[in-house]
C-alpha cells in the first residue's frame, strides 16, 4: 500500500472540492490499495456526508442516498414491497458483514474480480493500459461472453446494479465545479472497447450522491443468481427479471444480466421478443437466442453460454407461471 493523504469531508460540496479519491465502505478500494492495484495519492472520506436516507420522490419512486448500505437498502420496507428484485439481488451479494459496510455508490463502482487485474506483475489493460490482457488465453472462468473486446474480457461483479438496471434506475451526481447531473444507469457503465481502464462515464472527481428508482411498475420480480457455492460467491450468471402479464400474454418484460459483461447487461431486443407474446418454451428459447446471438466464449467460460440460456429460460418460465 502506498502512503496517501487523508481528508474527511463534511459536505458534498467540500468532498468534491478536496480533490481526491472518494472512499465509502472501503470494502473494495482498500483491498485494491493493499495490493497496489489502486494507488490514490489522496483519499476523501465521504462517510460523514448526509447521504444515508431513502426518500420517496414526487413521481412515486425512491431516491437512495449514495451512502445507504447494502444491508439497509435490502431491508427497507418500500424496497421489499415495491422493488423486491433489488432486495433479493442485494441479499444474494457478498456476506452480511460486507453488506453492512458496502454502500450504494461504492457498489456501482466496484471493480472487476479478474485474477490478472489483481496481480500487479501480470499484464492487464485495465490496470495498466497497453500492457495486454492476462485473462485472454488464461484462466477466464468468471469472465464475460458479451460485449467484450480484444483488450479486456472482464465482468462487472455487482448484483445490486443488475437489479437496478432492470428497474431503469438513474444515478445523480455532483461534479467538482458544483454542477449536478442525472445519468440513466444504462449509460453509466461502459463496455471495454480500447479503453477498459475507463469503466463509467463519470468525470474525475464526480461524486455519486444518489440513485433514483422510478415508480414501481409492479409485475413479477425475480433475481436468480447462479454461482459456484450457495453463498459468498460472485455470480457466474445472474438474471433480474420483471415481467408483467396481461390476459395470458406477456405485456412487457424487463431483463438485466450479471456475470456476462463489463456492465450490468440489458438488451431491449430480448425484451421485444417477449412483448405481447403468449409464454412458451419456444418463445423463451427465442429470447435466449436474441440475448446470446453475439456471445463469445474464451475457453474456461464457454459454459456460460448454455448456462445463461438455461437460466433465462427457467426464470421466464417462473415469471410467467400461472398466467
Amino acid at each position: 500500500m502506498r502512503p496517501f493523504e487523508y481528508a474527511r469531508a463534511g459536505e458534498a460540496s467540500e468532498a468534491v472540492s478536496l480533490g481526491g479519491r472518494f472512499i465509502a465502505g472501503g470494502t473494495n478500494l482498500l483491498d485494491l490499495m493493499k495490493l497496489q492495484v489502486e494507488t490514490p495519492d489522496k483519499l476523501v472520506d465521504i462517510t460523514r456526508l448526509p447521504m444515508r436516507d431513502i426518500e420517496a420522490t414526487d413521481d412515486g419512486g425512491l431516491r437512495i442516498g449514495a451512502l445507504v448500505t447494502n444491508s439497509d437498502l435490502a431491508a427497507d420496507k418500500r424496497v421489499r414491497d415495491d422493488y423486491p428484485v433489488l432486495s433479493r439481488a442485494l441479499l444474494a451479494g457478498a456476506s452480511g458483514q460486507l453488506r453492512n459496510k458496502a454502500t450504494t455508490g461504492g457498489n456501482l463502482l466496484q471493480r472487476t474480480r479478474c485474477g490478472y487485474f489483481y496481480e500487479t506483475s501480470q499484464p492487464c489493460n485495465k490496470r495498466e493500459p497497453g500492457s495486454g490482457c492476462g485473462a485472454i488465453g488464461g484462466f477466464n472462468r468468471i469472465h464475460a461472453i458479451l460485449g467484450t473486446s480484444d483488450k479486456c474480457i472482464a465482468t462487472h461483479p455487482s448484483d445490486m446494479a443488475v437489479a437496478m438496471q432492470a428497474l431503469e434506475a438513474s444515478v445523480e451526481t455532483l461534479k467538482a465545479d458544483g454542477s449536478t447531473r442525472t445519468i440513466p444507469l444504462i449509460e453509466f457503465h461502459r463496455l471495454p472497447g480500447d479503453t477498459p481502464e475507463i469503466e463509467t462515464v463519470l468525470e474525475k472527481g464526480e461524486l455519486i450522491t444518489a440513485v433514483r428508482l422510478p415508480k414501481s411498475l409492479g409485475g413479477t420480480q425475480i433475481y436468480r443468481k447462479v454461482r459456484d457455492r450457495a453463498s459468498y460467491a460472485f455470480a457466474l450468471v445472474s438474471v433480474a427479471a420483471i415481467v408483467k402479464m396481461k390476459g395470458g400474454e406477456i405485456e412487457w418484460a424487463r431483463l438485466a444480466f450479471g456475470g456476462l459483461a463489463h456492465k450490468p447487461w440489458r438488451d431491449t431486443a430480448v425484451e421485444d421478443v417477449l412483448k405481447g407474446q403468449a409464454p412458451s418454451r419456444a418463445l423463451f428459447d427465442r429470447a435466449a437466442d436474441a440475448l446470446l446471438a453475439e456471445a463469445k466464449g474464451h475457453g474456461e467460460n464457454d459454459f456460460k453460454i448454455p448456462l445463461a440460456r438455461r437460466t433465462l429460460v427457467s426464470v421466464l418460465a417462473e415469471a410467467t407461471q400461472g398466467a
Binding site: 485474477g115 450457495a230 453463498s231 427457467s314
Partner: protein, 741 residues
C-alpha cells in the same frame, strides 16, 4: 521416567473402569472460554505493547528464473524502514514436515511469487509499502506448470509412505480378468486454508532466541528454525500454545518463523511477521495435483481379483514428498495381484506437502468413485459390492487387522440413512427443478502411534498439571489430555491443568496425521501410571489395588485425600509412549462410512448437499463432543473437495490465480446441511494404551466420493475431474429442464 513400548495388546485399564466418569464424556473445551473471549494469545499477538518491528515478505513476480541482482536501495531509504534482507538465507517456502530445514532460494526463483527479500520496518504499513520498492533483475526461464504434460517425472522419497507397493503380477491378472475396470480421475491442487495466517514473533536475548509461531510439530519445527538461522537448537525456544488451524500447512515451519528471527537479529529488536493471505497461499505449501488411474479386475459376480491404483502427483525441484493417494488402497481393497504406485511430476510451482488427510483425501475421491462405477456396471448395489470384497487380512502382506469395523459402519449407516430408498436408476428422482440422488463411500485412515512424552506434577494441594510440548490445533487436545489425567488420577476435571505448546516442556509427537490424541494421550496415560505408583508407594500399597476418585485414594477401607498423602511435597513424574511390535504384527486403521443425499439443479447444474451421515469406528472415543466436531470438520471439507476447492495455477506462467479466500472456494455455511455423525463403540487394544485410534482425518476420507456418487445417482452424469462444478454437468443434463407449472 515411566516408559511404555507398545509391544503387546493392552489389557483392562483404569479408563475402562471409568471410576471418575470423565473419559469419553463430551465435556467442553478446556481453553474454550479463553478463545471465545479473545484472551488466548495466537502467535502474532505476543509481545503486545513492546517495542517491536514488523516484517513483510517481498514476492518475486516471475514463475521461474535466476535472480541476477536485487536492488534494495529504494526500499531501504523509504520512511520507517529499518532493514532489507535478501540473499542466501531467504527461504523458498515452508519446510517439509520432517525435513531438517526449509529450502533456501539459492539465487533462483522456483515458483511464482516466491520470497525474494524481507523488509523490516517500524510499522506493518511502512514494511508493506517498501516491499513494493524492492526490485530485482531476473533471467527468466520457461517453467513446467502442468501435471498432465509430464515434462519431468521422477521417483518420490519413501515419505509419507513407500511409493510403490506391489504383490503378484497385476498386469497379467488384469489381462485375464472377466471384467476390466479402467478409469482415470483427477484432483486439482488444494490449499490448506487455515483461518490463522502463518505468523511469527521472534525475540533475541544475547545468543538465545525465542519464537512464537503457529506450528503443529514443535520438536521438528524448532530444529528447522535453528537451521534457518544458523544456530544450535539448544539456543532456541519455540512457543505455540494456540493455533488457528493448520490442516497440514503448519507441520513444517512457515518461512515467517525464520524471517522474523533473521529480522530481529538484524534490527536488534523483536520482529513480528504475519504473512498476508496472498502470501500464505503463495509462500507456504499446497497439495499437489493428482492424476490417478484406477483399475479393478473382477468376476461378473463382483469379486475383485486384482487392483491397481497409480498416481501422478506434483512437487517442485528438490522435494521428494508426494501426495500418497494410494495410502488406503494398500489395505482397503482386496486382490491377490496388486499394484499401488506413485510418481512425481516435477513442476515449477509452490512446493507441495501435507494438506488435510494427505492421501486418503485425494485417493478415495478416485477409488470410492471407481467402486461405485464398478457396482453400477455390474448391476450390483455398491454396498453389496463392498460386502463381497471385504478382506479378512491386510491384502498387501497378510498381517491381521487389529480391528476393522468397516462393514459394521456401512450397515449401521445404511439403516440410519434409509439406503433402501435410493433411486435404483440414476436420474429418475426429481423434485421440481432438483434431481435427487444418494451415494455412499467407505472411509479409512491408517493409524499411527508416535513417540511422545508428558509430565504430570501433583502439587501439595492435590491438583495436577499436565505438561508436554504437544500442540492443540483446534482439535481438542487440551481437553482430552485433561480428561485422561483426571480419569486416571481420579480428579474432578477442574483439578487438572494443561500446559502445551512450548519446547521447554517434555518432547511430544505434535499434531499431525491424526496421531496426536493417541500419542500425546498415551504419554499422559503412562505418566499417570507413574503418579499412581508414587501415591501407592507413599501409602505402602500395591498400585493395582488402589482406587482413585474425587481427589482421594481408596485402599481397602481407607480413603485419604491426595493432599494428605503428599504431605506438603509436590510429585512430578514423566511418562513416555513408544510404538512397538503391535505396529508390525497388526495392521491398524480407523474405518467408517459416509452417506450423502444431494440435489442437483436440472437447469444450472448447481449441487446442494441435502444430508450427510458419517459412521465411524476409531477405537475408544476420548471425548464425544470434540471427536464429533472433528468429524463435522471432515464432512465439511469433503463437501469442498467434491464441489468447490481448486487452486488454479496458470499453466502458461505458474501464477496462482485464485490466491485469496474470495476466489479460492471452501464451503460456507449455506453449503452445509445438517450433519450427522455416529461413532461406534470399539476398543483397539493393539493401537495404544488408550485403545484408541486417530479420528480427525477419517471423516474426510471418502466424503467427496460419496457426494460425487450421489450426483451420479441424481443425474446419471459421472464426473471424474474434481471438483464437480456445474460446467462439468451442464452439457449432459436433460434439455427438458422446465418444470411443468
Amino acid at each position: 521416567m515411566n516408559k511404555h513400548v507398545m509391544d503387546k495388546a493392552i489389557g483392562e485399564t483404569r479408563l475402562d473402569r471409568n471410576t471418575q466418569g470423565i473419559i469419553g464424556k463430551g465435556v467442553d473445551r478446556y481453553e474454550g472460554p479463553l478463545k471465545v473471549s479473545g484472551r488466548a494469545t495466537y502467535a502474532y499477538e505476543n509481545l503486545a505493547g513492546e517495542d517491536v518491528a514488523y516484517g513483510f515478505v517481498v514476492p518475486a513476480p516471475i514463475g521461474r528464473g535466476a535472480i541476477k541482482s536485487v536492488d534494495t536501495s529504494k526500499a531501504e531509504s523509504a520512511p520507517g524502514v529499518l532493514a532489507v534482507i535478501s540473499g542466501d538465507k531467504i527461504l523458498r517456502a515452508s519446510s517439509q514436515p520432517m525435513a531438517p530445514a526449509a529450502q533456501t532460494i539459492d539465487g533462483e526463483v522456483f515458483h511464482y511469487n516466491q520470497p525474494l527479500a524481507i523488509v523490516i520496518a517500524e510499522s506493518f504499513e511502512a514494511a508493506r509499502h517498501a516491499s513494493h520498492l524492492v526490485t530485482a533483475d531476473y533471467e527468466p526461464k520457461q517453467g513446467r506448470y502442468d501435471v498432465k504434460a509430464r515434462e519431468t517425472v521422477r521417483k518420490p522419497d519413501a515419505m509419507p509412505m513407500e511409493p510403490v507397493n506391489e504383490r503378484g503380477d497385476f498386469e497379467k491378472a488384469f489381462a485375464e480378468a472377466e471384467v476390466q475396470f479402467d478409469e482415470t480421475y483427477t484432483t486439482p491442487s488444494y490449499h490448506a486454508a487455515a483461518m490463522e495466517p502463518h505468523a511469527s514473533v521472534a525475540k533475541w536475548d544475547g545468543d538465545r532466541l525465542t519464537v512464537w509461531s503457529s506450528c503443529q510439530l514443535l520438536e521438528t519445527n524448532v530444529k528447522q528454525i535453528a537451521a534457518g538461522v544458523g544456530l544450535d537448537v539448544s539456543k532456541v525456544r519455540l512457543h505455540s500454545p494456540y493455533i488457528g488451524g493448520g490442516f497440514g500447512s503448519k507441520l513444517g515451519i512457515g518461512p515467517d518463523a525464520v524471517f522474523a528471527s533473521l529480522g530481529a537479529m538484524t534490527v536488534g529488536k523483536p520482529v513480528k511477521i504475519a504473512l498476508t493471505r496472498q502470501n500464505v497461499f503463495q509462500q507456504t505449501s499446497r497439495r499437489g495435483e493428482t492424476v490417478q488411474r484406477v483399475r479393478f479386475g473382477a468376476t461378473k459376480e463382483g469379486k475383485i481379483t486384482c487392483f491397481a491404483h497409480e498416481t501422478d502427483t506434483t512437487n517442485s525441484p528438490g522435494n521428494g514428498f508426494f501426495e500418497p493417494s494410494g495410502i488406503s488402497s494398500v489395505f482397503l481393497y482386496p486382490g491377490k495381484d496388486r499394484r499401488i504406485a506413485h510418481t512425481i511430476v516435477e513442476t515449477d510451482a509452490l512446493m507441495t506437502s501435507a494438506v488435510r488427510a494427505p492421501g486418503e483425501a485425494t485417493g478415495m475421491l478416485a477409488t470410492e468413485s471407481a467402486l461405485d462405477e464398478l457396482a453400477d456396471r455390474l448391476g450390483i448395489d455398491p454396498i453389496d459390492l463392498r460386502r463381497m470384497n471385504e478382506p479378512k487380512v491386510n491384502p498387501q502382506d497378510d498381517t491381521p487387522f487389529s480391528s476393522r469395523m468397516l462393514l459394521e459402519c456401512i450397515e449401521e449407516g445404511a439403516g440410519r440413512f434409509g439406503w433402501g430408498d435410493r433411486p435404483q436408476k440414476p436420474g429418475t428422482r426429481r423434485e421440481g427443478e432438483w434431481l435427487i440422488g444418494m451415494g455412499m463411500s467407505s472411509a479409512s485412515r491408517k493409524n499411527s502411534l508416535m513417540k511422545s512424552s508428558a509430565e504430570i506434577e501433583m502439587s501439595p494441594d492435590g491438583r495436577a498439571t499436565v505438561r508436554t510440548s504437544m500442540t492443540d490445533i483446534g482439535t481438542g487436545t487440551y481437553t482430552i489430555l485433561q480428561q485422561i489425567a483426571a480419569e486416571m488420577l481420579g480428579l474432578p476435571l477442574d483439578q487438572v491443568d494443561v500446559e502445551l505448546g512450548d519446547t521447554a516442556l517434555p518432547a511430544s509427537s505434535g499434531s499431525g496425521g491424526s496421531w496426536g490424541a493417541n500419542s500425546a494421550g498415551s504419554s499422559v496415560f503412562v505418566a499417570a501410571e507413574a503418579m499412581i505408583a508414587e501415591l501407592a508407594k507413599r501409602l505402602d500399597v500395591d498400585a493395582e489395588t488402589l482406587t482413585l476418585k474425587d481427589g482421594h485414594a481408596i485402599a481397602g477401607n481407607r480413603q485419604i485425600p491426595f493432599s494428605e498423602i503428599l504431605k506438603g511435597e509436590a510429585i512430578t513424574v514423566l511418562g513416555q509412549i513408544e510404538p512397538g511390535k503391535t505396529d508390525e504384527e497388526t495392521h491398524q486403521a480407523s474405518y467408517g462410512a459416509h452417506f450423502a443425499e444431494v440435489a442437483v439443479n436440472v437447469v444450472t447444474g448447481e449441487t446442494r448437499v441435502r444430508r450427510l451421515l458419517t459412521v465411524g469406528a476409531a477405537g475408544r472415543i476420548l471425548n464425544h463432543k470434540t471427536a464429533t466436531s472433528q468429524c463435522y470438520g471432515g464432512q465439511i471439507w469433503g463437501i469442498g473437495y467434491a464441489l468447490e476447492e481448486e487452486l488454479v495455477i496458470d499453466t502458461r506462467n505458474g501464477l496462482m490465480v485464485n490466491h485469496d479466500l474470495a476466489e479460492y472456494h471452501v464451503p460456507v455455511h449455506a453449503d452445509v446441511p445438517k450433519l450427522d455423525v455416529v461413532l461406534l463403540e470399539e476398543r483397539d487394544t493393539h493401537a495404544s494404551p488408550l485403545a484408541g485410534k486417530g479420528i480427525g482425518e477419517l471423516a474426510i476420507a471418502g466424503v467427496g466420493a460419496a457426494i460425487n456418487n450421489a450426483i451420479y445417482n441424481a443425474t446419471g452424469v459421472r464426473v471424474r475431474d474434481y471438483p464437480v462444478t456445474m460446467d462439468k454437468l451442464l452439457s449432459q443434463l436433460p434439455d427438458d429442464y422446465l418444470t411443468a407449472a
